[in-house]
């Protein structure tokens, strides 16, 4: 693998994660508005768009741009707030392997498969920076 493709993978990963999280945030607010009585036709009218466009956009984040996010957030009477975590900072929350620990998985004995970000950057995971966790025996 070339240096360039590693960087491209990081870019793809970062883009997909941000877009998915933003989409879910918009969809969550839409669910709230829907429960309050809003309809897609009403939202379409507020956005000056075709109802079919609204339906398509709310069903999947494909082709969403920052402009799409902004348009939905405003039309839904929302306000965006962005929070970035520093993955290189110590994780004061301790282990983040909760679901795996519930399976009594011995973290030390497993060959973990991780995202390309770690491989590319050579930085240990936030997870692996956390305190060792004893295996739980069922």
């Amino acid at each position: 693998m070339t240096y360039r493709s590693e960087r491209r993978e990081m870019e793809d990963y970062g883009f997909a994660r941000v877009r998915d999280l933003a989409f879910e945030a918009v969809r969550k607010l839409w669910r709230k508005r829907e429960a309050e009585g809003w309809t897609q036709a009403y939202l379409a009218e507020r956005m000056g768009r075709d109802p079919a466009w609204i339906s398509r956009k709310l069903s999947a984040p494909g082709n969403w741009t920052l402009r799409t996010f902004g348009a939905f957030i405003e039309a839904l009477d929302g306000e965006a707030e962005i929070l970035l975590h520093d993955l290189n900072a110590p994780n004061l929350l301790g282990s983040n392997f909760d679901a795996y620990l519930a399976l009594a998985l011995d973290r030390q004995s497993a060959n973990w498969v991780n995202s390309p970000l770690q491989i590319a950057s050579g930085i240990e995971t936030a997870a692996s920076n956390s305190a060792p966790v004893p295996a739980i025996v069922d």
């Binding site: 969809r27 069903s59 975590h85 983040n96 392997f97 998985l105 011995d106 004995s109 498969v113 390309p116």
Partner: protein
């Protein structure tokens, strides 16, 4: 032997590889790859990695493991659906649908327990072709074989609704 004990044994033998994205968030669900699937996942010359991009696969895995909202509204429209159970037989074959990149990607697997997915293979969507194609049949057989290699005749986990498979943060409401 309990499923927990089985998983631990397979992990210790290196036959199952757990996935954890780089994140501060806790793992809410589990994803394991069979040894064959992990080999494909790590092969940068594989069709999925070279055509689709490993970053999109990782993002889908991160979404699963970190407990992000999963959409499976059960309607005929597949748009926006992240997880889908394939038509039987054979039973209990699931696909993760990575639909953003072109070409798209499908990841096949089975549930070992609620929120515990065993990934057996990665395929580009164009390779699989139309429903019922030889490539689909082959991919499904690979999934069944991969499962049998690990769990012998033990049946995969089965539930009556999507909420039995995905216990939290799962959306089954149609938009």
């Amino acid at each position: 032997m309990s499923i927990t004990a089985q998983l631990n044994e397979l992990i210790e033998k290196g036959l199952l590889l757990p996935f954890m994205p780089r994140s501060r968030k806790p793992a809410k669900r589990c994803l394991f790859m069979t040894k064959d699937a992990a080999t494909k996942y790590q092969d940068m010359n594989s069709a999925v990695n070279s055509l689709v991009g490993k970053g999109y696969v990782d993002a889908a895995f991160a979404k699963w493991v970190l407990g992000d909202r999963i959409h499976n509204d059960g309607t005929k429209t597949k748009r926006g659906r992240f997880l889908k159970k394939l038509s039987e037989p054979p039973p209990e074959i699931w696909e993760i649908r990575v639909t953003d990149p072109v070409p798209q990607c499908r990841i096949l697997g089975r549930f070992a327990a609620p929120d515990v997915l065993i990934v057996t293979g990665f395929y580009t969507r164009p390779y699989l072709g139309k429903k019922g194609s030889a490539a689909w049949v082959s991919a499904i057989n690979e999934c069944v074989d991969g499962w049998r290699k690990l769990f012998s005749e033990a049946a995969p986990f089965s539930a009556l609704s999507i909420h039995g498979y995905v216990t939290e943060n799962c959306d089954d409401i149609s938009l």
